[in-house]
């Protein structure tokens, strides 16, 4: 069937006729919930605002720039693609804006504009539109964008400006390390986590650390996440199970060897776990459809995240973990089909 996505009433003769006839006929049901896709996307964007604000507060104008460039370029890419391929323009559903915002929040605030644009290109064109646009992409577009950049431009993607208050932005911005990066370096150089500098929990909880501009404040992200759960945009399964898996896994290792492994609480607040658990892994299109499936998916994300963080070459594994689990979603969906009513047992 053609024109799957919304067709413009003006281009659709049947619909034009309908407005004249004043009586519509469709299959039942004839009433509909008020919650539609743009509404859902808006809610997620609202929920991301606290995290983004913290990023802007600590990284200043450059962070704002990255966000703006990412959002604008994502929207432009989508419009351009749909214009060129002659498909209906669907930016109004807000998914491109959301992808842009998520991409920005996964980038260091010092990312140059061209880097952001390349990320948007990969996210929107390759990861989303090539697969057929919204709803059809098997991988989270923002994460594909981020991982692509991370592997292609490792230096630019791991140059983390030091956080400072918005009101004391100086011209000579210095760069530092993320908590997880510092941890990895310490283990690599000294073989023990004791050498890692400043492993307090309050700074990453509030956001006063280096990192991607949207991932630094666990608190702001948790607030956003709770908003999403309260509004029933997402269910608790993915964030709770994801975070719990990471906590349990790192906790066991920490109990065995507190010298060699950081505490679970550190792992929870540091890095992109909160952003990933509440906003990236919960992306509806790329996560399993049933609640059981979501639990399996989140547990897988948690395990892979910890494996990469503790033993892998990269200090952070959230993006990779979610992308890998995205690939498993079709299999998980098959394995966790609900039992139909009246199934012969």
């Amino acid at each position: 069937m053609k024109n799957i996505s919304a067709s413009n009433p003006a281009e659709d003769p049947a619909r034009e006729q309908a407005t004249k006839l004043s009586v519509y006929v469709s299959s039942s049901p004839h009433v509909h919930s008020t919650e539609d896709v743009p509404w859902i996307m808006r809610q997620v964007i609202y929920a991301l605002i606290p995290g983004a604000l913290v990023g802007v507060y600590f990284f200043g104008i450059p962070a704002l720039k990255v966000i703006a460039v990412a959002v604008v370029s994502c929207v432009v890419m989508e419009v351009l693609w749909q214009k060129l391929t002659g498909n209906p323009i669907t930016v109004k559903d807000g998914s491109a804006v959301l992808t842009g915002l998520l991409l920005a929040m996964n980038l260091p605030s010092g990312a140059p504009w061209w880097l952001v644009v390349i990320g948007s290109l990969v996210a929107i064109i390759i990861a989303k539109q090539l697969f057929g646009g919204i709803g059809n992409n098997p991988f989270n577009p923002a994460l594909v964008g981020r991982v692509f950049l991370l592997i292609s431009f490792p230096v630019a993607m791991t140059t983390w400006p030091e956080p400072r208050s918005f009101f004391s932005q100086a011209a000579d911005a210095t760069t530092g390390a993320t908590p997880l990066g510092a941890l990895k370096t310490a283990i690599f150089e000294h073989g023990t986590i004791a050498a890692a500098p400043g492993m307090n929990l309050m700074d990453p909880f509030l956001g006063n650390v280096g990192g991607s501009l949207g991932e630094i404040s666990a608190l702001a992200l948790i607030l956003g996440g709770i908003y999403l759960i309260a509004r029933k945009i997402i269910t608790w399964h993915i964030p709770v199970v994801y975070i719990a898996t990471v906590a349990v896994f790192t906790g066991i290792l920490w109990l065995i060897n507190p010298e060699g492994y950081a505490s679970p609480s550190f792992h929870l607040v540091a890095g992109g776990l909160m952003l990933g658990a509440f906003f990236m892994a919960t992306d509806m299109v790329t996560s399993p459809i049933t609640n059981t499936g979501k639990v399996v998916f989140a547990a897988g994300c948690g395990v892979i995240t910890v494996v990469i963080r503790l033993w892998g070459g990269y200090p952070e594994g959230v993006s990779f973990a979610i992308l890998i689990m995205n690939a498993f979603v079709p299999l998980i969906n098959r394995a966790t089909r609900p039992t139909k009513f009246g199934a012969v047992r």
Partner: protein, 324 residues
């Protein structure tokens, strides 16, 4: 050097020996047809047929008579051979072409209501029987275009499907997909088609469609070959076996519902071959041939209706078709 030859040769010989022995020891009986079919297949195991390799595909088409012989890599010859082995017909009867039997574009017709739902005629039909005012007419949502495996149907600007003659294979997928049954397969030699299947009377049709068959019967009257039948409750139908493609019905139809697939080909007499027997003059229903006995006859192109009767009757093969 010697050692390398010996070694490789040795391994090769050993392997061949073992394989040879096991080919005999472990031989498995197989449907001979399956083996014969497998021999016709390319053996590249490309998987394009959707099966796991050529053997699986051969097995499937041997066992399951419904399975399509859908190997894209096989050539015509092998396909023929395979169908012989399996005793299937390739559909070798007269080539057919699909024809759309509705001319009621949205501009010419009315709607009963505004349809909201999937853009698929079959889906539209199950909601209150389709939105078109005429319950026989084309719903115009392009399902035939969608199901055509050859891209031979396109939805035109007029909101109606059009068959691209050169691409249509007469497979009939569109015919079974159309919920209104307005697509018909006719022999490729056929040329004229009545673009309406409505059973409504002229009066019932009037508010619904301007271009339908109003069952006036003029076409049946003008047809020199009795190829057209029409009644009060059935639209005109052209018997493609009787039709001689003269096209008189097209110009006679008051609503223009009869149309030609292609321009009719007129007759031309080859002067060198004509013996002047006058048979053509006698059989011509349009009085388009004239001349003197024992001299070459000639065709008045303006009058010729392209029925081809003269060509058939000419004893000396002196008449050919031309595109005017």
């Amino acid at each position: 050097m010697i050692s390398s030859i010996l070694l490789l040769g040795g391994i090769g010989f050993l392997a061949a020996l073992i394989l040879g022995i096991s080919a005999v020891t472990f031989a498995v009986k197989m449907d001979p047809r399956e083996k014969a079919v497998l021999d016709q297949l390319p053996g590249a195991n490309c998987g394009a047929c959707g099966f796991a390799g050529c053997a699986a595909f051969a097995h499937e088409i041997t066992v399951n008579p419904e399975a399509e012989m859908a190997c894209p890599a096989v050539n015509e010859e092998a396909l023929q051979a395979m169908s012989e082995i399996l005793g299937r017909s390739l559909g070798g009867s007269a080539p057919l072409i699909a024809c759309i039997r509705c001319k009621g574009s949205p501009a010419e017709t009315t709607n009963r209501y505004g349809y909201v739902g999937p853009r698929d005629c079959r889906a539209a039909q199950i909601v209150a029987g389709g939105s078109k005012g005429c319950q026989y007419g084309c719903l115009g949502l392009g399902t035939c275009e969608e199901v055509c495996p050859f891209g031979a149907i396109i939805m035109g600007e007029d909101g109606l499907p059009h068959v691209i003659e050169s691409l249509c294979t007469g497979c009939g997928k569109c015919v079974s997909a159309c919920p209104r049954g307005i697509i018909q397969l006719i022999p490729r030699t056929g040329n004229y088609i009545v673009g309406c299947i409505s059973r409504d009377t002229a009066k019932e049709m009037k508010p619904l469609c301007k271009v339908g068959c109003i069952k006036c019967g003029i076409c049946a009257d003008v047809c020199p070959f009795d190829a057209i039948t029409v009644s009060k409750t059935t639209s005109a139908v052209i018997d493609q076996d009787k039709c001689r493609r003269c096209g008189l019905c097209v110009s006679a139809c008051p609503t223009g519902v009869i149309s030609a697939l292609r321009v009719p080909q007129k007759a031309r007499i080859i002067a060198e071959k004509c013996k002047g027997c006058s048979i053509c003059e006698q059989v011509c229903p349009a009085e388009a041939i004239s001349g003197k006995v024992k001299e070459p006859y000639f065709v008045n192109e303006g009058k010729c209706i392209g029925c081809g009767l003269c060509i058939e009757k000419c004893p000396s093969d002196a008449i050919e078709r031309i595109i005017s």
